[in-house]
Amino acid sequence: MTTTAEDTTAPAPEEDLLLDVRGVKVHFPIKRGVVLDRVVGHVYAVDGVDLQIRRGETYGLVGESGCGKSTLGKAILGLEPPTEGSVVIDGTDIASLAGEQLRRRRKDFQMVFQDPMSSLDPRQSVESLLVEGMRAHGLASDDAATSARLRELLAAVGLPAAALKKYPHEFSGGQRQRIGIARALAVEPKLIVADEPVSALDVSVQAQVINLLEELQERLGLTYLVVAHDLAVVRHISDRIGVMYLGGLVEEATADDLYTTPLHPYTRALLSAVPLPDPVAEDRREQVLLVGDLPSPSRPPTGCRFHTRCPWRQETRCADERPTLRAVDVPGVPAGHRVACHWAEEIERGEITPHEVTPTATTQDWRGTDEGDAIGPASETEAQVSPTGP
């Protein structure tokens, strides 16, 4: 997984795209009432995301809980139908597929889940777990070939052939995740969406699974979309990284660019918040400490979603104009490095300096119609946000 020079540019439409996501939105209705079942609002989990992944690339999607990264991953696989927008995998718009057609196409895109214990059926042996998908896609017609293929799969993920007759509980967490990966590989997919593939594992075992994913990619030419909250892990395995905040991408760049020149204030804060296993670096570094919590995705702030917590927030534009992902005109920053911030250039040149942010109370409780006055508006702009209640 090396970064080459051409990686630094965003893929042009004519390039060899495996995945093309355009304007995807996933809104979940908030319903209330027993009989009438009124929709009283929406959770804007994913709110307009464009994303392109080239064949053989690893794209990392990072963000904190509630930013919509997992929902986006599911929307891409058609597990969560998008409210709006299109997902084109290998030339086919998956929204145009239904029923049997969609089921057949699922062979091309597989998922690896976070918790292998809950994503593997405890009452199925490893053999049955692996064969199930192959059979569903007509890949297990010949017994001898199937058995050879199973051995090959297990060898690929570093498990002994004896594992076939065992059950998930007989394995350690790392081994279970290997089974989950083998299951995804069984149907020879083109795209693998891995949702937090290592976060449930012990630190010493994480590296084994990360290395395995990289090896398999090199050998089989796989394309990955890795969804994770751990920036260090994502930076390690990804070619390009998209940073999500409250349902939208705020920055997209190659892994190295993103780390060396983070342009979005949120990315800066996120990078500076990750504890480094190095006391010298820890003592020296300056942290951009964010105040407050993620606002509720059912009442996202107007304008830039991040403006309520942004230490670089300006009086104009931030609160009322939603920034789009754009290339910036800063020397040394390649065109493929895109950021959704009105003031990215000024911040990077040091013309705008960070200021104090008053912490605002956020609440997990979307129901209270009196919520507005229970906690008071965080700012003038938040007061303008239409309430979710009827």
Binding site: M1, D202, S204, A207, N211, L231, Y259, P277, P279, A361
Partner: protein, 339 residues
């Protein structure tokens, strides 16, 4: 966070230890099964104003150590041996009612998951005042302003209104702050934090770690930090204890330990985590196997099967924790110091 009522208790390493754990051994017994020793002869000291880290992966005994010190292990099915001397008293020998008096007053604990440590049907304010009522004999009405100040102190915005909120109305970070407020209610001299930021997002984690750091600096509280995250340890702890299979395998001052890890487990852990500030592209060096592949400490080094440089002695003899110049190491074939 604003400094309030607390008088700063100055205290720095070099003083008499506030908590002194010696040869702590916790064995779980279940009918029809071999007894399992989760903590196997752990000793460490915590001084006022000092932050001591217990680091290790799942099953290394770090949490059981803290529960044993706090007297929170179930009364049946286990044996706790050794001593945990706090201010001249052995906590492990205290009868339950005396321990109950100390818990929350002298020694407080913060747990990993704030939602399951808070009572879901009682407002936050009441849960904080409860501590004050129990340990300081305050009336609820008198305790309320104090509870408000505590919430304010841990950085909860609009504390007056938050007093009447229930845990589910707070975000994860706010819940953890509320929990810290409860732990601080009686100005404990010792705080044990068991993975306090593991359930939180990184930006919130940074806030909580900053809060804990300020607390230690301002009040001179001793802090025992239990975590699996070497990054958290590197920024926060003065002294680090690395645990493996229920025993301390290495101990050192954080700068020394991270600059020159001697135990293959410590250095293996450091090599296996992807670094945000390191070079990219090179494959990681994982530690092979899993924590389940241990040898019994009685006759070998438990880490030997996963070790990168085992020697013959490792599978035949029990390595002892050798102390020298503030460092302690349990290894027959330590990693050469290159720097």
């Amino acid at each position: 966070m604003t400094a309030t009522a607390t008088t700063p208790r100055t205290g720095r390493p070099g003083q008499e230890p506030l908590l002194s754990v010696r040869d702590l051994r916790v064995t779980f017994r279940r009918q029809g099964e071999e007894p399992f020793t989760a903590v196997d002869g752990v000793s460490f000291d915590v001084r006022p104003g000092q932050t001591v880290g217990l680091v290790g992966e799942s099953g290394c005994g770090k949490s059981v150590t803290s529960l044993a010190i706090m007297g929170l292990l179930p009364a049946r099915g286990n044996t706790v041996e050794g001593t945990a001397t706090y201010d001249g008293t052995d906590l492990l020998g205290l009868p339950p009612d005396q321990m109950r008096d100390r818990r929350g007053r002298d020694i407080a604990m913060i747990f990993q998951d704030p939602l399951s440590s808070l009572n879901p049907v009682i407002p936050i304010g009441l849960q904080v005042t409860e501590v004050l009522e129990r340990h300081r004999g305050m009336r609820r009405r008198a305790a309320r302003p104090l509870a408000r100040d505590l919430l304010d102190r841990v950085g909860i915005p609009d504390p007056d209104r938050r007093l009447t909120d229930y845990p589910h109305q707070l975000s994860g970070g706010m819940r953890q702050r509320a929990l810290i407020a409860m732990a601080l209610a009686c100005e404990p001299r010792l705080l044990i934090a068991d993975e306090p930021t593991t359930a939180l997002d990184v930006t919130i984690q940074a806030q909580i770690l900053r809060l804990l750091k300020e607390l230690v600096e301002e009040t001179g509280t001793a802090l025992v930090m239990i975590t699996h995250d070497l990054g958290v340890v590197a920024g926060l702890c003065d002294e680090v204890n690395v645990l493996y299979g229920g025993r301390i395998v290495e101990r050192g001052e954080r700068h020394e330990l991270f600059a020159a890890p001697r135990h293959p487990y410590t250095s293996g852990l450091l090599a296996s985590i992807p670094r945000l500030d390191g070079a990219r592209g090179a494959p990681l060096t994982p530690i092979p196997g899993s924590v389940a592949d241990n040898l019994p400490w009685e006759s070998a080094c438990a880490f030997a099967p996963r070790c990168s440089q085992p020697v013959q002695r490792c599978t035949a003899e029990t390595p002892r924790l050798e102390e020298s110049a503030g460092r302690a190491l349990r290894c027959f074939n330590p990693v050469e110091v290159t720097r």
